[in-house]
């Protein structure tokens, strides 16, 4: 199973400013310290070897959209702004013979998780099949509403693809195009749902974003430990520090890196991808959060190590 991240930022899309880019370039030039490069490839090798991720790249700024290559059709979690580049890339792959069936799985209906659909080019293809899976009964209402004239110039009814809304029941397993899919209820405004995907080879990825784990509900976390059990990859909302999540950001519907690591430790998951990054964080802030998460995992490990990776737009993880 290949997991490809198209959008990893929470709340709203962000982009680096000209000043931020200039600063990165300046710091890279200082780090090169007069070294000359034969070509761009050699310069990129220097960046990879000598610069940190925040200095030499970016975590990106598109809102949630995660693709799983797990069967013959497309599997996509959420429709954030990252859906637009995915849609364009899928058109290229369709031209190479990929089946034009898109299976979407919506965590919830907040705008950062559905804002990409009006820009999803395959939705205008009458030969495409789009199945939108959601545990919310009002998923279609949410998507239609964001394309009403007051908000967007192209109405939902102009989309030409074969679009079907399929409601899922939490706790029930489904077999969808060769992938076993389970969903679990999470705490978030208007409720959110996590998804567990298992392919024919038994590889498992869990998508659990926009899920708050409150201090007075810790006894309910056994359900998440079971949902994450021995997963090859768990993608978790790690938007806030633990302190922020229990104080000024309490009831905002998000979680922290420490809780995600502890749940994954207890579930004996193999890898954790930090996800749904705070939009006010610059790349150096996210890198710091990643480094601290790795350190916390080391300090509290009481079994096999958990690989802690930090999702960024464009990341591919094979599990």
């Amino acid at each position: 199973m290949l997991v490809r991240f198209w959008g990893t930022r929470g709340s709203l899309p962000v982009a680096p400013t000209a000043g931020t880019i200039r600063r990165k370039i300046a710091e890279a030039l200082v780090a090169a310290n007069g070294k000359s490069f034969a070509d761009a490839d050699e310069a990129e090798r220097f960046i990879t070897a000598e610069l940190g991720f925040a200095q030499g790249a970016t975590y990106g700024g598109a809102t949630p959209c995660v693709e799983l290559e797990a069967g013959g059709s497309y599997f996509i979690c959420d429709m954030g702004s990252g859906l637009r580049p995915f849609g364009l890339d899928s058109i290229r792959r369709n031209g190479e013979g990929h089946r034009k069936t898109y299976n979407f799985f919506l965590s919830h209906l907040h705008w950062d998780h559905i804002m990409g659909f009006p820009f999803f080019a395959p939705a205008f293809d009458p030969t495409a099949t789009i199945r939108i899976h959601s545990a919310h009964p009002d998923a279609e209402d949410a998507l239609r509403r964001q394309q009403e004239e007051i908000s967007f110039p192209v109405p939902f009814d102009w989309l030409r693809a074969d679009i079907e809304f399929i409601q899922l029941d939490p706790g029930e397993p489904y077999e969808i195009d060769g992938v076993r899919v389970e969903t679990a209820r999470q705490q978030h405004s208007h409720v959110s749902y996590g998804y567990r995907f298992t392919d024919r080879d038994g590889r498992t990825a869990v998508y659990s974003t926009d899920s708050e784990h409150k201090p007075d509900n810790m006894e309910d976390e056994a359900a998440f430990i079971d949902f994450f059990r021995q997963a090859d990859l768990v993608i978790c909302d790690t938007m806030y520090s633990l302190a922020d999540s229990v104080s000024m950001k309490e009831d905002w519907g998000h979680s922290s890196n420490l809780v995600a690591i502890d749940l994954c430790h207890e579930a004996q998951a193999k890898s954790l991808a930090l996800f749904h990054h705070e939009p006010t964080y610059e790349d150096k802030d996210i890198q710091r959060m990643h480094e601290e998460s790795i350190r916390y995992e080391e300090l509290t490990r009481n079994g096999p190590p958990l690989e802690v990776i930090c999702a960024y737009d464009g990341l591919e993880v094979r599990v």
Binding site: P215, D216, M218, E219, S241, L242, A243, D244, V246, S247, S256, L258, V259, I261, D262, E266, E292, S293, R295, Y296, L299, T300, N302
Partner: protein, 111 residues
């Protein structure tokens, strides 16, 4: 995890030994609640959690501290975290809990 609760003239001291993790956070939370009740009944305004013998605390333990702080705030009792080892200092920093709680070097606290 083991704990003890001692009364001093001006503070209740909760000494914690071992680890506070998924297997012991509930007992830890119950101990803190018991200590807060004792502080309230004795008219004592400070509760010191002595971490000198604590190996580490996971997010369950930290969130149990938050629950205790809410109870203590309602009783106008202040919670202090005393003598954390190097691992706990790192965890308190990584979690940013060093911004939520006052950390002291010893159990002797002065307001």
């Amino acid at each position: 995890m083991e704990y003890s609760i001692d009364h001093h003239a001006d503070a209740i001291i909760v000494r914690v030994e071992g680890r506070v993790d998924e297997s012991s956070w509930e007992a830890f939370g119950a101990a803190l609640s018991e200590a807060i009740g004792q502080a309230r009944d004795a008219g004592i305004g400070d509760l010191v959690i002595d971490l000198a013998s604590l190996d580490y605390m996971s997010s369950r333990g930290l969130r149990a501290l938050t629950v205790a702080k809410r109870q203590a705030d309602g009783e106008e009792i202040r919670i202090w975290l005393a003598s954390p080892n190097e691992v706990m200092r790192e965890i308190l920093a990584i979690s940013r809990y060093d911004k939520l709680f006052t950390i002291t070097e010893t159990v002797e606290v002065k307001r």
